[in-house]
Symmetry: C2
Subunit: 201 residues, 2 copies
DNA sequence: CTCACTACTGTACGTACGTACAGTCGGCTC
DNA sequence: GAGCCGACTGTACGTACGTACAGTAGTGAG
């Protein structure tokens, strides 16, 4: 049965998303992934050879999210349009926040955001290979939409936006800082926060 | 010589800051810390007993940074003052960015920011014990300065600000996204970005 | 002089990790 | 029906990790 084959491989990928998101690359173990996927340890090695191979495969399988962000960004053809900035922000945050809606996808969102704020991720070349090209395109679009900013502004503003988006996946900490029931409205708050920051700074 | 004793303990703490900031809690090893400190492995165990003990000791030794942020925040006594928001933002970012000026301190800054964006940090109770109380005070001040915001706004805005501050320590990525020489002006960019975001969202 | 105490060292133990590898099984081709 | 190939399994190997522990040197008190 070929379907079982591919399904087991995907089982492992899905389980690996959860484990890596929870524990980080170094904190997670191959055995943990295997157990979470309900397969033997050697099957994980069979499909992905090494721990890094497994890790990279996750991001390759999810590359459509960044493709989506870029596609939405490229639809903003007129930098002078009054809604150009809003659409850029939407292209940046919505494909990611959409992941938060599905319990099966939210762990990948957390994994991405963890990787984006991990200095040792440089060793793994995932950010530089899969995210930086997209980042450069967003920065270039920012420069077109907001030409009257000092040099260096746009790249930093993009990174600050990445940071804000990063924290948006930590619903748990909101409960510790505010009371409960404060976790709602995240998407709107983030969109307004970023649009205001970019338009007025 | 008692000075040698304390100095060796502090050597270990300083080396541990660098190693943990670079590799993360799980990626770092006790032997690596010992070697970086120029001491034997058993001395690290002698002073801090466990890896977690060493980790927590770093944050306790640096708690003055958060004390500083809180002290500056409490100086903002009039929430209606026109510069109240600017001073809150300054209290939030400046003590951290000051660390970036001294090569001996910058690694702790990176370590803090890594811990703040690590979901598995919940196990270590550093964020919830040392950072969340400060966070709640910042959120309360935000509520006083900006009373006309929807419920839940202030806590999320605080977290988004944490995220932006987090990314500010990744100078390396700026070089990949923008050209070189773009890394300057970080402090001013961040302050303006956050002030604009809070005032206009 | 002795005792106690603190700082520090060398070595070793048990464990858990990533990875390798020989082998099994079912379906497909010719 | 022989041979092959991809999917999958069980087991084992070498290593590197966190931690424990016995021991040494120096110092200050009585």
């Amino acid at each position: 049965m070929t379907t079982t084959a591919t399904s087991k491989r995907e089982q492992v990928l899905a389980a690996a998303e959860v484990v890596f998101a929870r524990k980080g690359f170094d904190g997670a173990t191959m055995r943990e992934v295997a157990e979470a996927a309900g397969v033997g340890l050697s099957l994980v090695v069979y499909h992905f050879t090494t721990k890094e191979g497994l890790y990279q495969s996750i991001f390759e399988a999810r590359q459509y999210v960044n493709d989506d962000r870029l596609a939405r960004l490229r639809e903003v053809t007129d930098p002078q349009a009054p809604d150009a900035l809003d659409r850029l922000v939407s292209a940046f945050v919505d494909p990611v926040l959409d992941l938060h809606d599905d319990p099966a996808d939210v762990w990948f969102a957390r994994l991405v955001l963890r990787e984006a704020s991990d200095p040792s991720s440089q060793d793994r070349a995932i950010i530089s290979g899969l995210f930086d090209p997209m980042a450069r395109e967003f920065v270039a679009a920012l420069e077109r939409i907001l030409p009257d900013r000092p040099p260096g502004y746009h790249a930093w503003a993009y990174l600050f936006a990445v940071g804000a988006l990063t924290q948006s996946s930590f619903d748990a900490r909101i409960d510790n800082i505010a009371g409960p029931d404060a976790a709602g409205g995240k998407r709107e708050h983030l969109r307004r926060f970023l649009t205001a920051a970019l338009r007025h700074s």
